[in-house]
């Protein structure tokens, strides 16, 4: 780990001031990803601004019928919060599908959004990686790419976003609230993370001097009909090869609204709203779910070692929707 200086501001204005005044400064909260990357010399901040004690640690009503998750609420406290369990069980289940109890006790909701990819080459500083060192090349495209993207990748980067929580937040149409010295801003979840394109070093649209203060959940939580399906190499404590957050609003057997977000397949939680809209008004049947799965996966491109993900994702979508509709 490189040497760095440390500060622990006591309020949000001081924290954004602190991160703006120090060169190469980063916020640290749970630290579960940042410290890991620092130990591997993948990230080398010169200064850490410890925000872990700021008063952003509450879950409250947001005045719009939904809940506001403070950025510093831990993943565990969020997943086990009675109102989250009752109104957003999809979110609870997605969080509990990720990491370990110890990590969930440390990791924060804001930090979860900022997790970096688990691409082996991003972690290995001896290999080229456009995300870690722009312009150096992508080792994964012609390397061992079993865990990599099948949707939305670029010639520069085929990394995936590793979060489970974010897949549920994408399906729920959450909003990310951020602030900086320039003022407050709210970012729709779909616009928070980005595709790699020619600038894979940028995981998201947050500016370096901005801090996440909260995540807003809309009123609609799909508590009746939802599934978080995670497919991984072992039964617990592994990143997703493919995951699906499926949420349905049903009237009888007729679909009013469908949300389908995929994890483990792209640089961001993957949604295809046109495909989702095609389910509206149709009966909840396996055939219709197979059709929508085909639409979502139609543009998928596999690499040498991850071709299997294309069929896997298709089947996972059908199974997740079938579970959400209680067909199986």
């Amino acid at each position: 780990m490189n040497p760095f200086t440390y500060s622990r501001p006591t309020d949000v204005p001081a924290a954004v001031q602190d991160v703006a005044t120090h060169a190469e400064a980063k916020f640290i909260a749970g630290g579960t990803n940042l410290l890991d990357l620092m130990k591997e010399n993948v990230m080398k901040p010169h200064h850490l601004v410890d925000i872990s004690r700021l008063a952003l640690n509450k879950i409250e009503e947001n005045g719009k019928g939904g809940l506001r998750l403070g950025a510093l609420v831990t993943n565990a406290a969020t997943a086990y919060h009675p109102e989250v369990e009752k109104r957003y069980p999809l979110l609870s289940k997605a969080i509990l599908a990720g990491a370990s109890p110890q990590l969930r006790n440390m990791a924060t909701d804001g930090g979860n959004l900022l997790q970096r990819t688990r691409c082996y080459y991003f972690y290995d500083v001896a290999t080229p990686c456009n995300k870690r060192e722009p312009g150096s090349g992508c080792s994964a495209i012609k390397g061992y790419n079993r865990i990599h993207a099948i949707l939305g990748a670029s010639e520069q980067c085929i990394a995936t976003h590793p979060s489970d929580m974010c897949i549920a937040l994408a399906a729920l149409n959450a909003t990310v609230l951020v602030t900086s010295k320039r003022g407050d801003r709210s970012i729709p979840f779909a616009e928070f993370h980005r595709l790699p394109g020619d600038t894979p070093q940028l995981d998201n649209t947050l500016e370096p001097d901005e801090i996440i203060t909260a995540i807003d959940l809309p009123e609609k939580g799909f508590a009746e009909n939802h599934t978080y399906l995670k497919i991984r190499d072992r039964a617990s404590y592994a990143f997703a090869l493919v995951s699906v957050a499926a949420a349905l609003e049903l009237e009888g057997n007729t679909i009013r609204e469908a949300r389908i977000a995929l994890g483990g397949v792209a640089h961001k939680p993957w949604r295809n709203e046109a495909a989702e809209a095609s389910l509206a008004g149709k009966p909840a049947t396996k055939e219709n779910f197979q059709q929508v799965a085909g639409m979502i996966i139609s543009g998928a491109k596999g690499y040498e070692h991850n071709q299997f993900k294309i069929e896997l994702a298709k089947r996972a979508i059908v199974r997740a929707l079938s579970q959400a509709a209680k067909l199986i």
Binding site: T5, Y6, L35
Partner: protein, 172 residues
Amino acid sequence: MSNTVQEKTTLAAQPLAEPLPVHLRINGEDHRLQLRPWVSLLDALREYIGYTGTKKGCDHGQCGACTVLVDGVRINACMTLAVMRDGQEITTIEGLANGDKLHPLQAAFVEHDAFQCGYCTPGQICSAVGLIKEGRAKTRDDIRELMSGNICRCGAYTNIVDAIESVTGGTI
């Protein structure tokens, strides 16, 4: 850095060479240390204070050997900076027994032969203490899932689950 920022922070940025004051309460005893900011809680415990019961396995939050309780909550001591835990209450494996009387989980691990080499055991036991306090494990499968952050390369998992279940009685 401006003076205004200095005033607003409780602990302003220090020059690289300057260690920071860190106060940890470990197993009921106060420890006042001077640590550089990059010292993990795990290294502070083992290298600076001498509590070597907490083990370093992977040092990346993947194996759970370093599990301790901070303010009663189980975390990976390798994935947190000691300076970030200033003022907090840390419980390690050394703090669980009451004098010569083993903690019920320690006794259960002995009773059920829940280890071979024993390297992961302090982390397993501290993790199980946290698990019981969280009150979420109702079945053996729950125990397995909620102990998944603790790896045992000897493969003593069945006996570990037995040991934990014997303490919870299956009704936590």
